[in-house]
Structure formats: C-alpha cells, structure tokens
C-alpha cells in the first residue's frame, strides 16, 4: 500500500502544478469586448497657454454585424496641458479600455508644427503601444476635421486614412508617406528635414485629399510643397516609381507615364566656392496621352523632349528647396556620410548649401506610344 502512494506522488504534483495555472487567469488581461480600439490620433494646438493640446481620438465602434449597422466611428476630444493628461481624462469618458495598439495614423494640426517637434513626438515614442510604423501627417484645416471626415468610399473595416498610406490601397505619386520612426529620425538628426503629407478635408467632411506636403526646415519653419513639388520629391526620393510628366513642346504636347525610375545623387565639393550636387535620373515609361498623332519611329525624339522637361522640373524644385533652406532628401546627411567625421561637418554644410549649383541629368526612355500610335 505504501508503495502505491509513492507511485501516485508524481502525478499528484503534476496535477497540482497544472491547477496552479488556474489562478493565473487574470493577469490584467482584458477581453476584446472590454476594449475599444483607437484608429487614429489627432493633435491640435489651441491658442491658450494653459491647455495647449487638443487631443482627438477616432474610435471604431464594435458592432455585432457589419451588414446591418455599417461603419460607425465615435470621437473623443479633450483639451489639456499635455497629451497624456488629455488621454487620462478621455479614459474616464469611455466604458472600455482604450487600446492604442491599432492606432496607425497620427495627425498633427498645422499649428503644432510651429512648436517644438521633439516635445510633441516624445509622447508617441515613449509609449510602448504606439506603433513605430504608424503614419504621420498634417491635418488641414485642423487635425480634428481630418479625423472626423468620413469619405463616402469608406467601408466597414477599412479605415480610409490607412488606405491612403498603405501601399495596398491607392498608389499615387502625389502621396508622401512618413512613418513615425522616419519622422523621428528626421526630427532628431541634422542634415535631413522632416517631411509630412498634408491631409486636407472639404467643408462637408466627405472628402480627404492628400496631395501636398510640408517640410520643416532646420530653422523649424514649415514650408508647404504644392502637388507638383510633392510628386517630384517622391520621384527624387525613390518613393514612387510611377510618375506622370506633362511635356509641353512647341507643336507637340503629350503626357508620359513613367513606370520605373531610379534617382541617385552625389555631392562634389572639390571647390569650396562652387559645390555641385549631381543628380542622375533614369526613367522608363510610355506615352499615355497625346494631342497629336504620335509616331513610333520618333520615340527617341520624344524621350529627349521628356528628359528635358524632367530636368527643368527637377531643377526648379531643387532650387526652391535651396532658397527655402529645405533638405528633405538628406543632402546634408550625404555630405556627412561621405567625409570623415570632424565634429563640424554639419556647420560646414550649412555654409555650403546656399552656394550649391545643381546638375541634373535626366534620361527618359520611352518604350512605346501606348496601345495606339
């Protein structure tokens, strides 16, 4: 009999060990129906000194069946002295736990950019549950209006703001994307300036438009890029392969659709008085639209004209960057990255940049005139 008890000892201990796991049930884990998911976060700047931040959260309302209820969102808004206090107050306004794990878009009001960017992004970097791969943008007229806009094409389960930046939905050469980590490194580092897309809403809040961008230069001054400049920035930064060029020649007007492009640049500072930034652009594309009959045998001529147009456009944008002191492409960074460190490379670059001349070599090759000639 005694032997039998000993035999049972081992299974007994195993069972006890397993039973102990039952006590482990509630390690602060909240069920999914006790959580509400934040989709996007908006930060606006109020004019007041005491409560400078206005935080807007867009929440997805859980519903039993999507077919019946459609998409529903709800919003929480609070003004406070800091973002985290605002969120603490907002927590008392919902019956569920606010979950930031799915917040993928952060929108800043334009006014925010005039303040210390480090301070504002600090909250998002310090918190563990905000994704570093969330997208950052600037809201016009305010972050709140962008968040509250509900485009008609928006379906249940697919947030329109996500689709703008996610390369699965729309792919447009006008949309500049900036991840939070990318924004952080551009803010923190010298020699490369932060660039953010501008999200613009119409009056009736039925439309969001993302076609422009804002660059914050090293003097913390935000400068807006228009549609064309944003597209060319995307081309130069190798962010988008697709790019449309409108060629206007004396007797020949056509539009080229570029489908592959590669842009490289390097900095030549052999003479300190006349530094040169050499940019090479290689593009392959087809003619998309023309107002005259095109001739396949003349593709070579068309390519040359296209190259010339691109060269002109790019040089214009680069000159504008230089005049405004913008550096979203990281010329200063490249300068530091190709010269041995002496702890004052960036100061050197700040003196050199206004003196730089741009040499743009564009080489477009058109492969076809499209389906018709």
């Amino acid at each position: 009999m005694k032997k039998k008890v000993q035999h049972l000892a081992k299974p007994f201990f195993i069972i006890v060990a397993v039973m102990v796991l039952l006590f482990q049930s509630g390690c602060g884990f909240k069920d999914i129906d006790k959580r509400i998911f934040v989709l996007s976060i908006g930060i606006d700047h109020t004019k007041s000194e005491e409560k400078p931040f206005r935080v807007v959260l867009k929440l997805a309302v859980p519903s039993g069946s999507i077919k019946q209820s459609g998409t529903e969102y709800t919003y929480l808004t609070e003004e406070s002295e800091s973002i985290s206090t605002a969120i603490r107050i907002l927590k008392s306004q919902t019956d569920k736990e606010l979950d930031f794990g799915h917040a993928k878009v952060i929108v800043f009001g334009e006014e925010v950019l005039h303040h210390e960017l480090e301070e504002i992004i600090d909250f998002f970097l310090r918190r563990r549950d905000i994704q570093m791969i969330s997208w950052v943008g600037v809201g016009q007229p305010s972050a709140e209006s962008v968040l509250k806009a509900e485009p008609e094409s928006e379906m249940a389960g697919s947030h329109a703001l996500f689709n703008f930046f996610d390369q699965n939905g729309v792919e447009s050469s006008l949309i500049v994307t900036s991840y939070l980590f990318d924004f952080r490194r551009r803010v923190m580092e010298t020699g490369i300036d932060p660039i953010l897309p501008v999200l613009n809403t119409s009056e009736d809040k039925k439309r969001i438009e993302v076609s422009r961008a804002i660059v914050v230069n090293s003097d913390k001054k935000p400068v807006e890029l228009n549609e064309k400049q944003a597209t060319i920035y995307n081309l130069m930064g190798n962010n988008a392969d697709r790019y449309d060029v409108r060629v206007k020649n004396d007797d020949l007007n056509f539009t080229v659709a570029i489908d592959t492009s590669k842009v490289t640049f390097d900095i030549n500072t052999d003479s300190k008085q006349k530094p040169i930034i050499k940019m090479d652009i290689e593009m392959v594309g087809i003619i998309q639209e023309a107002d005259v009959d095109t001739d396949s045998s003349k593709l070579h001529t068309y390519s040359e004209v296209t190259s010339k147009t691109v060269k002109k456009d790019v040089t214009e944008v680069l000159t504008m960057f230089q005049e405004e002191g913008l550096d979203p492409l990281g010329f200063g960074l490249r300068y530091k990255a190709t010269r041995l460190n002496n702890n004052k490379r960036y100061e050197e670059w700040k003196e050199l940049y206004p003196k730089v001349t741009f040499e743009v070599n564009a080489k477009a090759s058109l492969k076809s005139t499209g389906v018709i000639e």
Binding site: G28, I133, F181, R185, M188, A337
Partner: protein, 364 residues
C-alpha cells in the same frame, strides 16, 4: 568539432541583442565602437580557438575535473567558485534584461516579481537536467528559431526605409581609437565557446577544431556584429540613436511585414527572443550550477539516494534574481552590465593562462 559546440557559440551570438551589447556599442558610437568591433573579431576568434583546442586535448573532462587534478585543492575551489559566479551573473543579466522587456512590451500589468518567477520556474527544471538533455533542448529550440531569426535579419536589410547614409555616417567614425568597454561588449558575442568548461563532459570522443570551422564562426560573428550595430543606426538615425533604451526592440518595431500574418514584427521578435534568451540563460546557469556542485556538495543532504544540494543552489538563484530584479533600474543595469563585460574579458584572458598552466602540468 561536434555540432553541439557550434550551438553553444551561436546562442551567445544571437542572444546578445537582448543583453545590453547593442546599447553599449551605440553609446560608444563616437568613441571607437567600430575599431573595437574589428579588434574583437580577432580577439574573440583567438579565444574561441584556444578554448576549443584546450578541451580537445582532454575529451570528456570539464574544467572542475582538470583544475582539481592539476591545481592545489583550495585554489581550484576558489577559482571554480569565482568562475561559477561569473556565469551566474551572465545569466542574471539576460534574465533581468528580458524581464524588463516583458514588463515594458508584453505584460505591462504584471508585477516584475511574477514575471521573474515564471521564468525561474521553467529554468529551475531546465538547469537541473543532464548536460546531454540541455544540449538536445538547445538544438531543438535553436533549429525552430533560426529560420525566423534569418527572416527578420533579411527583412531588416532589404527594407527600403533602411537609410544607408546613416550607416555610412557612422562608418566615418571608424578612425577613432577603440574603447575597452566596446571591445569587451563585442567580444562577448564570440565567447560562447567557453561554455565548454562544463559541456566538454558531453564530448567524450576525440574532436578537433579546424581552421575552416573557425572561419565559419568568424563569418557568422562578423555578420551578427554588423547587424547588431548598423541596423539600429540605419533605421533610427546616427546622432540620437543612443537615446533609445532598447535599440533592437525599437528597430524590430520599425520593420513592417506588409502582407505577413502579423504586420508588426515586434511581437514575433519578442517571442523569438523569449526563446533565445531562455536558451542563453539555460546554458549559463547550467554551467554555473554544475560548477557550484563540483565545489560544494553536502553529503548529509541526501534523500532517497539523491543529493539535494543543487536544489539549495536553485533556491539561492531564485533569491538572488528576485532581489536584483527588484533593486535594479534600467540605467544601472546597462552600467553594471558593461562593468561585468569588462571584468569578464579580463577573466577569460586570465583563464587562457590557466589553460596553459594545466597543459604544462598535464605534460610533465
């Protein structure tokens, strides 16, 4: 060499990401981190070769058997206790770092002591296993982990957001003189072979380490060092990267598997490193407990023919770990870790002297 030797080396290489090696290296980024890394490859490989050659000539024997045979008894015991404590601390660093990580990222609502205890519960069982079982566990877990690890590394190199200009900017600091702290931290990657002091008991057959094998370890070592140091810089910038508390965790969060099962690699990464840091802990503490056992065994503490002294050590391990986890802050952890690596490197070089002495005694 047997393949198990390579597992011991690899675990140290991969697990360094969770230990404070990247943090220490990034703090020294403009004080000669690159030169130190370069030096550490040679130093680490030399150490690896020496330890493998030494134990090749004593198949089936661990360091305790050798020291107790060829050295005065009291000196051997003192030495073994010292080495055992070093291995215990090495494991402790992994444990505390990973506990902090879990607390920060996966289970923020759980008390620190709880997290440590759950870790310790599984470890207590693991370290008491036979040496051979420990090695089999390592093989199995490592083989499951390596594909995911390779995927994440591959992804980090091909992601378009990786800014090579930042990496190149950091290379522009290559001319700076190496720093000892950075050297010892990066050598830590390559000293996994030293676990042979206990695990050699398993290698009873005659083995020989060849030049090709050292070259293979060297290639992997260079690869993991470069990845450890340069990828966080490429993703987070150069000038402000040392402000990040956990460089590699944030780096893992900057990677995005667009159409993957999980979009945020961070969580895959954390679970992967949970397994790997467990392995690293298992190895270090198995060595530590075997060393302690070889020095201190209470004959009286026997129950049904089994000696219970190891359980006593496990109890001490628990006590020590929980106290340390409660006491340390993140800043202190990195600071003390760097001190530990400095001390470890010196002791390992001292150990080479010991090897030389033992070989001479054995010959005469």
């Amino acid at each position: 060499m047997s393949r198990y030797f390579f597992y011991l080396v690899f675990v140290n290489m991969i697990a360094n990401v969770v230990a404070s090696v990247p943090k220490i290296l990034l703090e020294k980024k403009s004080e000669g981190a690159i030169a130190s890394m370069l030096l550490s490859i040679f130093l680490g490989l030399a150490l690896c070769y020496i330890v493998a050659r030494f134990f090749n000539s004593f198949p089936g024997k661990g360091l305790p058997e050798l020291t107790q045979k060829y050295l005065p008894r009291w000196f051997a015991n003192l030495l073994l206790l010292f080495i055992a404590s070093a291995w215990y601390i090495a494991g402790l660093i992994t444990l505390v770092t990973y506990t902090f990580l879990l607390k920060r990222f996966l289970t923020p609502d759980m008390p620190l002591v709880w997290i440590t205890s759950i870790f310790l519960l599984f470890l207590s069982y693991g370290v008491l296993m036979k040496t051979s079982s420990v090695l089999y566990t390592i093989e199995l877990v490592l083989l499951c982990c390596i594909p995911i690890n390779v995927l994440i590394m591959f992804k980090s190199y091909v992601t378009p957001e990786l800014e090579w200009d930042f990496i190149s900017e950091s290379i522009m600091h290559a001319y700076e003189l190496p720093s000892f702290t950075a050297l010892s931290a990066s050598t830590y990657l390559l000293v996994g072979g030293f676990n042979l002091i206990i695990f050699n008991r398993f290698f009873t057959k005659k083995h020989k380490i060849t030049g090709k094998q050292i070259l293979f370890i060297g290639m992997l070592g260079i690869g993991s060092l470069l990845t450890t140091y340069f990828i966080p810089i490429g993703m987070n910038g150069f000038e402000s990267v040392e402000m990040i508390a956990y460089p590699w965790i944030i780096t893992a969060d900057t990677l995005r598997l667009n159409l993957g099962v999980i979009e945020r690699i961070l969580f895959v990464f954390l679970l992967l490193y949970l397994a790997i840091s467990f392995l690293s802990l298992l190895i270090h503490w198995h060595v530590a407990i075997e060393l302690y056992k070889s020095v201190i065994t209470f004959k009286r503490l026997t129950y049904k023919g089994k000696n219970l002294t190891p359980l006593l050590f496990i109890g001490l391990f628990w006590f020590g770990s929980i106290q340390v986890t409660k006491y340390l802050t993140e800043y202190q952890l990195t600071l003390y870790t760097s001190y530990f690596y400095n001390l470890l490197l010196c002791s390992l070089i001292g150990m080479v002297g010991l090897f030389w002495f033992i070989v001479r005694r054995a010959k005469s």
